[in-house]
């Protein structure tokens, strides 16, 4: 789960990291009030869970409250890479002398948290890594002893940070690592960490929280902003399904992520294209299957549905019942290829067969199922 810039920075602030004393506005008038209260120049920043908002015009400098209102007027409601802007952050403009990148994430290969730091902040770290790899410092942290002061001194030395900032840099580094660990984050980054006449300042920030750990962070879970998510993804999350919309015509319903990807791959192999990734998970109930089918059919691009279930924990008869339940609510015009193999496969097939559904096509092997789905989608298109 990703946090907005303003949410991330407030959390950084809770851990003692210096952040701008900004305000969130949801209307141009609120932006005006915020700018007036802050005084001086402000930055109006779109709060959207996607990158590249600066280039998209979502970040603008305002010299007066009126200008702030005008910018907010422009930015609020703007669409940035498919995300609608509902909030802007009004931050006092900082007098930035130089910009540092400072982030924490997991190094999967080393199976350790890793600090990533660069003197070249203010731009995407991937860009720095690609163009100036020497400028990206990576320091792994052993969780049992945490980020050590000496490691921070090494980093400060490596990025050539002036010594008068070392002490504060050490505090910020320690605080960000603590924030990362205690938030069960998978990413916590400050970019830029600005060097200003008043010291270091976390001018922009981003956090991603491990979804699997939200059970122990109800405060963070409550920060989820689903307003920009497509309705299908919201419904999928509610039903505990993994769903990602894609551009093809074949709606896929599969149990297991690996098999789901394979099923997608095979539609492509046989000349089609998947409309989505959808994993109904292990031991899926009929309810879950029904939700999955509703979500798939809500995509107007879908010309055919491919349901591929290899029963293990999941029972084929549950899946069959789920399909029937969904079709009582949702009208399905498209053909559906159904392949049920494994636990209770006979019972599952029988339920489908006896339902007398007109558009249902049975399949034996995975290849057979994929070919039939591609053909069916082709006929419909």
């Amino acid at each position: 789960m990703n946090l907005h810039e303003y949410q991330s920075k407030l959390r950084f602030g809770d851990f003692g990291i210096p952040i701008p004393r900004g305000k969130v506005a949801e209307t141009p008038e609120q932006a005006y009030d915020a700018a007036r209260e802050l005084g001086g120049k402000v930055v109006v920043k779109a709060q959207v869970l996607t990158g590249g908002r600066g280039k998209a015009g979502g970040v603008r400098l305002a010299g007066t409250p009126d200008e702030a209102r005008a910018h907010a007027q422009t930015i609020l409601g703007m669409d940035i890479h498919g995300h609608t802007v509902h909030k802007v952050l009004i931050d006092p403009a900082a007098d930035i002398q130089s910009e540092i990148y400072f982030g924490v994430t997991n190094d999967r290969g080393a199976r350790l948290p890793v600090i990533i730091c660069s003197s070249e902040g203010g731009i995407a770290i991937e860009e720095v890594a690609a163009t100036m790899p020497d400028k990206v410092i990576r320091v792994r942290v052993k969780p049992e002893i945490g980020l050590r002061g000496y490691q921070v001194a090494n980093i400060a030395s490596n990025i050539g940070l002036p010594r008068e900032h070392w002490k504060q840099f050490g505090q910020i580094a320690g605080a960000l690592y603590k924030c990362y660990v205690e938030s069960d984050a998978t990413l916590a980054e400050i970019n830029p960490l600005a060097v200003t006449p008043g010291g270091l300042l976390a001018v922009d920030g981003k956090m991603s929280i491990d979804d699997n750990a939200l059970f122990r962070h109800p405060d963070l879970a409550a920060l989820r902003d689903a307003s920009a998510d497509p309705p299908a993804e919201i419904e999928a999350r509610a039903a505990e399904l993994s769903y990602i919309k894609l551009d093809g015509a074949i709606g896929c319903m599969v149990n297991g992520a690996g098999l789901a990807m394979t099923t997608m791959d095979m539609t492509k192999l046989f000349g089609g294209a998947p409309a989505n990734f959808l994993d109904i998970g292990g031991g899926a109930s009929a309810d879950k299957v029904a939700a999955a089918l509703r979500i798939i059919l809500s995509d107007p691009n879908v010309k055919a549905v491919l349901c591929n279930i290899f029963g293990g924990i999941t029972r084929c008869d549950d899946v069959a019942r789920g399909i029937l339940a969904a079709l009582e609510e949702v009208r399905m015009e498209q053909p559906m290829v159904v392949r049920l193999v494994g636990t209770n496969e006979d019972e599952g097939r029988q339920i489908i067969d006896e339902s007398g559904l007109p558009n249902v096509i049975g399949a034996t092997t995975l290849a057979d199922a994929a070919k039939k789905a591609v053909e069916a989608a082709g006929r419909e298109a």
Partner: protein, 285 residues
Amino acid sequence: MAIYIDKDTRVLVQGITGYQGRFHTYQMLEYGTQIVGGVTPGKGGEWAEGVPVFDTVETALEATGANASVIFVPAPFAADAIYEAIDAGLELVVCITEGIPVRDMINARRYIDQTGSRLIGPNCPGLLTPNQSKVGIIPGDIAIPGPVGIVSRSGTLTYEVVYALKNEGTGVSTCVGIGGDPINGTNFIDCLRAFEQDPATEKVVLIGEIGGTAEEEAAAYIKANMTKPVVSFVAGRTAPPGRTMGHAGAIVEGGRGTAEDKVKALEAAGVKVARHPEEIPDLLI
């Protein structure tokens, strides 16, 4: 012979009184696995599926002489169950539970590396040595005994492969699902090494997916160390970059870990890579 489990493996089920624990205990017993006890704190003294339940692994171990455990407890408590099994000195710990926080697994893996125990998983289907033992949730009837070792990051995709082999009359020595999480206890290389040394295994199937660099590392290992032929399949050629494809941890990180990269690395190591799972039996011939 086989790897990791065989007919003598004596298994405890941690979380035996839960829905999944109970269901799969029944399935494992039906298959012939030696399930010697179950553990659910606070339910010691009860019975589940004809198996005695204990409050703790320690007491279960004393009473049963188990040497392995399989974990079905919910994600918030799964790391604790792993520590309990490891601290009790069990040789093999198979964690089926999915959704364990990454931080829990980073810490657990560091801890386990200091012990002599082996963890399989988490978020894995477990192991199957046909006609001897199954520890986990792999449907037993989809495999027959034979000379092919299987190691996979996936669950149901593995079943497809095993089932396709059976349909062609090919059997399996041991099938190991190592799990799809970014941090797990046993990796491809551990299993490849074990299969290389296992007299019952003649050929190996490696089933990978996008994300991480485990397949690339496996390829390097195969090139340097494996004398037995390896056939592979990699899922996720159509997955868009930068998106997480479900809980499998299949993340394409900064251009690394694409299916193309993995296929290329494996082929360069002399591995035959199937275009789809049902091609695997042909490539094994």
